[in-house]
């Protein structure tokens, strides 16, 4: 019989070691799948590592893939830490992309850094504004933010589709004949494309640098500031937060707005670094907003961990796109992500709990006597009676 016991002190090393071990287990499970699908797991893993990290341009591609994941991962982390479930990262990302594109187009004649700064600010502001809707509903009317933020994703998705496909909007390219027949977005001038920082052959996108910076920043805010303290108290107990004079409604609004701001930045970086125009189909297919929740869960809702898990999922995605077709079934990328996530998230319980195997008693109780029966007592009380209950806390 299995019992779970609460561990008392958990070291940082242990908290890192458990998900790492889970990752290794996930790799083993995936290896079985690879063998079953007829490929050699060792060589597949080798080619994946080379495609995602060591080949020329491989790591750069991974970073490009990881950029929106880190930002949406932070979006989910910040909100989930307060136990506010912002599922609306997706929609906030669309709105961020829309805002950033508008700014890029409007400031097209300005110098490059002004355009980029404008895009960053507009993207963040648009994402934040979109998050403000479920935030206010939750904070002041008690509406379930999971439902509202989720529904607003569809609204945002349809809205940007409308902007490009069904209207003569500011974002749509109507200058060419082809643009009238095949709807596309207006391209932002070259000066507005986000720069990469080249470090020994690897191009680090500006969006990724912003993401890492914000991850470190939010980690610091959570641990060291009064805002972070408020979040920790409120997450621990809403009643205690109210009792301590913390205004929960305001806190919820602040956190949701910051969360939306991060998702909006993810949208802006997609426009500025990759697409250079508003591309509703591409954004909606990528589903970075939902993937961000996965990234955050993998990181155990630690902002710094989000960098690692974002890179990991980014690597799997970029290796998948490059390997697809050769010895690599297309659907395997999603399966791998799923298995890794399942392994890491399901083992998270071992960080705080220790498993104890209790030995089964040799003379198992053969059933208790009924009231009418007179006879030898069939159950010898054994010195270890296993309890099929998780003794989580006494």
């Amino acid at each position: 019989m299995i019992r779970l016991e609460r561990r008392s002190g958990v070291s940082l090393a242990f908290r890192v070691a458990v998900p790492c071990a889970a990752f290794v287990v996930a790799l083993l499970v995936i290896a079985i799948l690879l063998v079953a699908s007829g490929s050699n797991p060792v060589s597949t893993y080798q080619s994946m590592v080379s495609a995602a990290f060591t080949s020329s341009g491989g790591f750069s591609a991974t970073l490009v893939n990881a950029t929106p994941l880190v930002l949406t991962g932070l979006c989910a982390t910040v909100a989930f830490r307060l136990e506010i479930y912002n599922i609306g990262g997706e929609g906030q990302l669309y709105m961020g992309a829309m805002g950033a594109t508008a700014a890029g187009l409007a400031l097209g004649h300005m110098p490059g850094f002004v355009i980029i700064l404008g895009m960053v600010l507009a993207g963040a502001a648009a994402g934040a504004a979109w998050a403000l809707i479920p935030a206010l509903l939750r904070a002041y009317l008690g509406t379930n933010e999971i439902m509202t933020s989720l529904m607003l994703n569809y609204v945002a998705g349809l809205f940007i589709t409308y902007l490009i496909f069904d209207s003569a909007s500011y974002w749509r390219n109507l200058s060419s004949a082809a643009g009238k027949v095949y709807p596309t977005g207006k391209t932002i001038p070259l000066a507005g494309s986000w720069p990469n920082l080249g470090v020994s052959g690897v191009n680090i996108p500006l969006g990724f640098i912003i993401g890492v910076g914000l991850a470190l920043c939010s980690s610091w805010v959570l641990r060291r500031t009064t805002l972070g303290y408020r979040i920790r108290v409120a997450a621990g107990s809403h009643a205690a937060a109210r009792y301590g004079g913390i205004r929960l409604s305001r806190l919820i609004v602040i956190v949701m707005v910051v969360s939306g701001l991060l998702a909006g930045l993810a949208g802006a970086s997609e426009v500025g670094g990759v697409a250079h125009l508003l591309d509703p189909t591409g954004l909606q297919q990528a589903q970075y907003g939902y993937a961000g929740i996965v990234v955050a869960a993998l990181a155990g809702f630690e902002p710094v961990g989000v960098i690692v898990s974002g890179l990991l999922l980014g690597a799997i995605a970029s290796a998948g796109t490059q390997l697809a077709g050769i010895a690599f079934p297309v659907g395997l990328v999603g399966t791998m992500e799923g298995i890794v996530l399942f392994a890491v998230v399901s083992t998270a319980i071992f960080v705080n709990y220790r498993v104890r195997w209790t030995t089964k008693s040799t003379s198992a109780p053969a059933g208790a006597p009924s009231a009418e029966e007179v006879g030898p007592p069939p159950t010898a009380p054994s010195n270890t009676v296993t309890v099929p209950v998780l003794n989580r806390e006494i």
Binding site: S237, P369, T379, P381, N383
Partner: protein, 612 residues
């Protein structure tokens, strides 16, 4: 021979099994081992125990002061070496005969022998022995955490013991579920009733029974049967009324009736009096006596000595998971002091208000003026309440739980809005529903819900200590928390208030007493003008209770005005200078401590306003 009070010591008389099986004609499950042991030399014997028990070393508790008192009376069994202490009846025969008497005695209906139950890190029950006779009210007395509720959960099949035997009618049983215990007639009435409010009394009584008869046709007959049973058992309630229409005392009667109607022979009541007024308690005791005289065995769990002495026949005292003694209440002229001594292991003298020398009430620090508030459903929960608390004064707020005391505390501390009236601290009128404003005005609050409202269990001691002051310049500047200032200040609190733990310990890991000290440390060190405390000692052991009481008394010395809300009338009477009594949201009157008697206060708790 008279059945005198027996003191069972550890697992010493586990050879009872030998007797039990002899008399019931059953094969002894360990017959071979027992015989083998019995032929061995006495000094090798130790105690005759089933082999499973021997697999863990039998421990004899070291002689504690209590033990040395009783040792002259103890007899060491010649054959087993087990020690059984007997009182007056010792001359009536040897231990063998005594054990025979206990077991052949038709009266013993349920016994738990040598019960041990461990949880990770805690031994909740350590070879506990309890025997309950037919037709007796048997009190189970112990402090919080002494293992009373664990034992009861074992008796009702919620837990299985790690070692030890349960027997009903001298036959061993192994309950695997509460339902199984119920088949044997063992029932427990929980502190929180398990009644369906939307059903009638009769429907609740039969709910879950075979042929419950919810159909219209049998209803009248069923109601009649239940009414008749109620009359017979001194548990009169109208079977056709709905539960939500009943008072707490009546609901408890339904709960007991429900158990008896289903054939309960052994009734376990878990702290049944906490929700009752003194008068309702008396009525409950009458019922219990009547039931006992009809042959029901009643196990009465309590930590209130007065009640134990007034209602029970025998009392088993538990301390730190072990049985200390089983005593006959009537024959031994037990005093509350003696019981307290057994329960705690040392003499208990709790600090009371009378101990503190200075008693001068200053200007009012907290005044509540015609405050009214309604709940979520628009019903008034606090009605036109007015009172003042002077500087250095303790005002007690008594009442049966759920009569608006908690809501009143929440209004004063800004956690709940008020629909009318004013709350003043000094000259400052508090904003309605603003906890921050109350904190800034100097209202400290120790809520009833320690873990959850008063403290954040997952955060560290240091984080909890700064909950109300983290925005002060001392601890944070420009929103950045000054970790060093927090650390040194919390270390100071930990030493000043004698908190067992470090500042990095999660509050969840602290004991109730230490957690309460963290709470009080935070509330008192902010220099409050008024302090609202709700049930500050609930669930604490005696040492912690005394520490909390001392802190409260000390705070009055510094001029803090305290509003003490408690359902424990004794505590209110021992600490408060004046006592307010609340009933259904209104204050029924004020009683000065010097002229307070339980009778008047009890009547006020039941809704009789005091003539002023």
């Amino acid at each position: 021979m008279q059945q005198a009070g027996l003191l069972y010591v550890d697992g010493a008389d586990t050879r009872v099994w030998d007797r039990a099986t002899k008399h019931s004609g059953m094969e002894h499950p360990w017959a071979d081992e027992v015989t083998e042991k019995a032929t061995a030399a006495p000094e090798q014997l130790g105690v005759l125990t089933p082999p499973q028990w021997l697999s863990r070393p039998l421990r004899y508790r070291q002689a504690s002061p209590l033990w040395s008192d009783l040792l002259p009376l103890a007899t060491v069994h010649p054959k087993t070496g087990g020690c059984s202490c007997m009182t007056e009846a010792a001359e009536g025969g040897g231990l063998e005969q005594q054990a025979d008497a206990v077991l052949t005695n038709e009266k013993t209906v349920i016994s738990a022998i040598g019960i041990t139950k461990t949880f990770p890190g805690v031994v909740a029950n350590d070879q506990v022995t309890l025997r309950v006779r037919r037709g007796e009210v048997h009190a189970l007395l112990g402090e919080n955490g002494s293992g009373k509720s664990t034992l009861c959960k074992i008796l009702t099949g919620l837990y299985r013991p790690d070692a030890g035997i349960l027997a009903v009618d001298g036959r061993p049983v192994a309950f695997h579920s509460p339902r199984h215990a119920y088949d044997y007639g063992v029932f427990m009435v929980q502190q929180h009733f398990s009644l369906v409010e939307r059903l009638t009394v009769a429907e609740n009584v039969v709910l879950g029974m075979a042929h419950a008869g919810f159909r219209r046709r049998g209803r009248a007959a069923r109601n009649e049967a239940i009414a008749a049973a109620g009359k017979l058992l001194h548990l009169e309630v109208d079977p056709s009324r709905y539960i939500w229409q009943l008072s707490v005392g009546e609901r408890q009667r339904v709960e007991i009736l429900k158990a008896l109607y289903r054939g309960a022979r052994i009734l376990i009541l878990d702290e049944p009096t906490t929700v009752l007024t003194p008068q309702e308690c008396d009525q409950l005791f009458v019922t219990l006596r009547a039931l006992a005289s009809r042959g029901t065995a009643i196990i009465f769990i309590s930590h209130k000595l007065r009640e134990v002495l007034s209602v029970s026949d025998r009392v088993t005292v538990l301390r730190k998971g072990a049985t200390v003694a089983t005593l006959d209440v009537r024959e031994q002229n037990l005093s509350p002091q003696h019981l307290a001594y057994l329960m705690v292991g040392r003499d208990v003298v709790l600090s009371t208000r009378a101990d503190s020398a200075s008693r001068r009430t200053g200007s009012p620090v907290l005044s509540v003026e015609s405050v009214t508030s309604e709940n979520e459903y628009g019903r008034d929960v606090v009605k036109d309440v007015s009172f003042t608390v002077g500087s250095g004064e303790i005002v007690g707020l008594a009442g049966v739980a759920g009569n608006g005391q908690r809501e009143l505390a929440e209004i004063i501390t800004g956690l709940r809005g008020r629909t009318a009236g004013l709350v003043r601290v000094g000259d400052r009128v508090l904003k309605s529903a603003s906890p921050g404003d109350a904190i800034r005005a100097g209202v400290a609050y120790v809520p009833e819900d320690r873990f959850g409202t008063g403290l954040v269990p997952d955060l560290t001691v240091a984080d909890n200590l700064i909950l109300k002051q983290f925005q002060n310049r001392e601890f944070s500047r420009w929103t950045v928390i000054n970790a060093e200032a927090v650390a040194s200040w919390s270390d100071r609190c930990i030493t000043d208030f004698d908190i067992r733990g470090t500042r990095r310990t999660a509050v969840r890991q602290l004991s109730g007493g230490n957690a309460q000290k963290v709470l009080l440390a935070r509330e008192l060190s902010s220099g409050p003008r008024a302090l609202v405390v709700a049930s500050p000692t609930r669930g604490l052991d005696v040492a912690a209770t005394d520490a909390v009481r001392k802190l409260l008394i000390k705070a009055t010395g510094a001029g803090v005005g305290i509003l003490l809300i408690s359902e424990d009338l004794d505590e209110v009477l021992e600490l408060a200078d004046r006592v307010l009594v609340m009933f259904r949201g209104a204050v029924m009157g004020t009683v000065d401590r010097r002229e307070a008697d339980r009778e008047t206060i009890g009547l006020m708790m039941a809704g009789t306003a005091r003539d002023r």
